[in-house]
């Protein structure tokens, strides 16, 4: 299980300078090991380098310094680019800007078609991928008739049909309503648990980050924190200092604790919070 699938080795990347944008590294000295089957959330405020980090994972960008390897392949090796991209797929923020075809199943087939896979095999993969994201019944729909959450699931199916080991989602829930977000989140979690797909989930929503196995916080082009959600959100002050939110439940628990109520540490979800508060109330009643 502890096999490394993506490894960043002291990676730095700087975009070319533009007029009003002086040269400044977008990613600086990043060291990161992503293990097969992990579910990683990446947090960080705007411009902290999250998208750049994502693009470095599948050779869309190549590091200026250091080295990124995907399943042992160096992303700067041009002959390996397509082998890397069939291992690491990417889903973007705007669902409309990543769907290429006028029919759902044709869109899902786009990746495998590019890989030159025979038609019968593509058919099989497309059906399987669509069932996986629970969009099989919509396979003949035109994408513009779908909701945002459904479009993102189609995009995910398009990646699955390439049989990638790892999916990177760059704020893929940012444009969705709460229901669409839940759909996408549930799908991703299921893929991770049941199919062992490695997930790198870039998000602004703390409540989504809490569900990950591991949280990486980016700040100012560097990795600022890296650990389990409990470890990362334990230090609320540190997170707030760089201008990020903490999960509401964690914040509430923290405030209660600071005002002298004995509530355990490591509370992240609202269920845990409710549970803890109930225990305190019950103890009060008894006492």
């Amino acid at each position: 299980m502890d096999e490394t699938i993506i490894e960043f080795n002291n990676v730095s990347f700087t975009y070319e300078a533009e007029e009003n944008n002086p040269e400044k590294p977008a990613v600086k000295n990043v060291n990161l090991k992503i293990n097969r089957g992990e579910f990683i959330a990446v947090l960080g405020h705007n411009g902290s380098g999250k998208s750049t980090l994502a693009k470095l994972t599948n050779a869309i960008l190549v590091p200026d310094e250091g080295k990124v390897t995907v399943a042992g392949m160096d992303t700067s090796d041009e002959s390996k680019v397509y082998d890397i991209r069939r291992k690491v797929g990417m889903v973007f923020q705007n669902p409309d800007n990543q769907i290429v075809s006028t029919i759902v199943e044709d869109d899902v087939a786009f990746g495998p078609e590019n890989l030159g896979i025979p038609p019968e095999e593509i058919r099989r993969r497309v059906d399987e991928a669509l069932k996986c994201v629970e969009m099989y019944d919509f396979r003949l729909y035109e994408p513009h008739r779908l909701s945002g959450g459904q479009k993102q699931r189609v995009a995910i199916a398009g990646i699955l049909a390439m049989r990638t080991d790892c999916i990177v989602l760059d704020e893929s829930t940012a444009m969705l309503d709460p229901r669409g977000r839940k759909e996408v989140m549930d799908t991703i979690r299921r893929l991770n648990r049941e199919h062992g797909i490695t997930v790198v989930f870039i998000t602004h929503f703390m409540d989504e980050a809490v569900e990950a196995d591991r949280v990486v916080v980016m700040n100012d082009s560097r990795i600022f924190m890296d650990g389990t959600p409990y470890e990362v959100f334990a230090d609320i002050k540190k997170i707030k200092k760089i201008g990020l939110d903490v999960p509401q439940a964690a914040e509430l628990a923290n405030e209660l604790r600071e005002s002298g109520i004995s509530i355990p540490e490591n509370i992240l979800t609202s269920e845990e919070c409710v549970q803890a508060v109930l225990e305190v109330v019950n103890a009060d009643n008894r006492g």
């Binding site: 990417m90 290429v100 006028t102 029919i103 199943e105 590019n114 896979i117 593509i122």
Partner: protein, 271 residues
């Protein structure tokens, strides 16, 4: 609602015409357009018109929809008919009043031209009614593939067509959104003369262009991530295959064409 617009004008069904290979449909439609201009008299034109009527019947596309596709060309039909009535002379004179002179030949050629245009439109609408845009682009790609020997990037061209089709509804939605945003800021889009209306379009087109560039950039990224190279070694999930009915249609058509050529020779030309 904008969500309900369909791209193209596909009428879903499973008739023989729907199931025909799209390449054969395109070829036959083009052949039809050419042959209808070969027709010289009412017998051959009648056969051609009958052919398209029978095809329409087989396709089970409702007559109402076919009429709808004729609506935009009605003006052209009327215009050609009127021109033909007044400017074609010959045969017996039917009406003569001051400088207006209507002859039998003029009336015949007006009717002839109208039938010709209507048959033409019905035939080509049948193609788009019974074929989805995606399949149509695939067929165009396949038909143009011999051009590859001239180093013309046929599959890139087909991809462009697909993407253009794909983004039609998205851009319509976008225009709607921008128009509402500009109206909310007090833009007046509906009144004034031609020039002031055209000017009012500028604040809609500029944001549309900017956002389209953004979309194109994102899309290019997304396509690269899914291993698109623009190269030749792509495969296709839906293989097109010519079946018996396609050859049947072709043979039937060729026989009809031969008949028309014979009829053209045997009977006097109307126009």
């Amino acid at each position: 609602m904008i969500r309900d617009i369909t791209i193209g004008q596909y009428y879903s069904g499973s008739s023989v015409i729907h199931r025909m290979d799209a390449r054969m449909k395109i070829v036959l439609t083009l052949a039809y357009i050419v042959s209808i201009f070969i027709c010289r008299n009412f017998i051959s034109l009648g056969v051609m018109a009958l052919f398209v009527a029978v095809t329409a019947l087989f396709s089970r596309v409702p007559v109402k929809m076919l009429l709808k596709s004729l609506k935009p060309v009605l003006i052209i039909v009327l215009f050609t008919a009127v021109l033909n009535i007044f400017y074609t002379t010959g045969g017996s004179t039917l009406v003569e009043w001051r400088f207006i002179k209507i002859t039998s030949k003029g009336v015949f050629s007006a009717i002839f031209m109208s039938i010709r245009i209507i048959a033409l439109i019905v035939c080509s609408s049948l193609l788009t009614y019974t074929t989805t845009p995606t399949v149509l682009t695939g067929a165009i790609e396949s038909l143009l593939s011999p051009l590859k020997i001239f180093h013309i990037k046929v599959n890139t061209f087909a991809m462009m067509l697909t993407l253009a089709l794909r983004f039609v509804p998205t851009l319509i939605e976008e225009i709607d959104r921008i128009m509402n945003a500009q109206k909310a800021r007090g833009a007046d889009l509906e009144s004034g003369g031609l020039i002031s209306r055209a000017k009012a379009l500028v604040p809609i087109l500029i944001p549309l262009f900017i956002s389209s560039f953004r979309r194109a950039y994102d899309l290019a990224f997304a396509m690269e991530c899914r291993c698109y190279t623009g190269g030749d070694n792509r495969t296709s999930m839906k293989k097109m295959k010519l079946a018996g009915r396609d050859f049947g249609a072709l043979i039937f058509y060729l026989i009809m064409l031969a008949g028309i050529i014979v009829v053209n020779r045997l009977f006097p030309a109307v126009i």
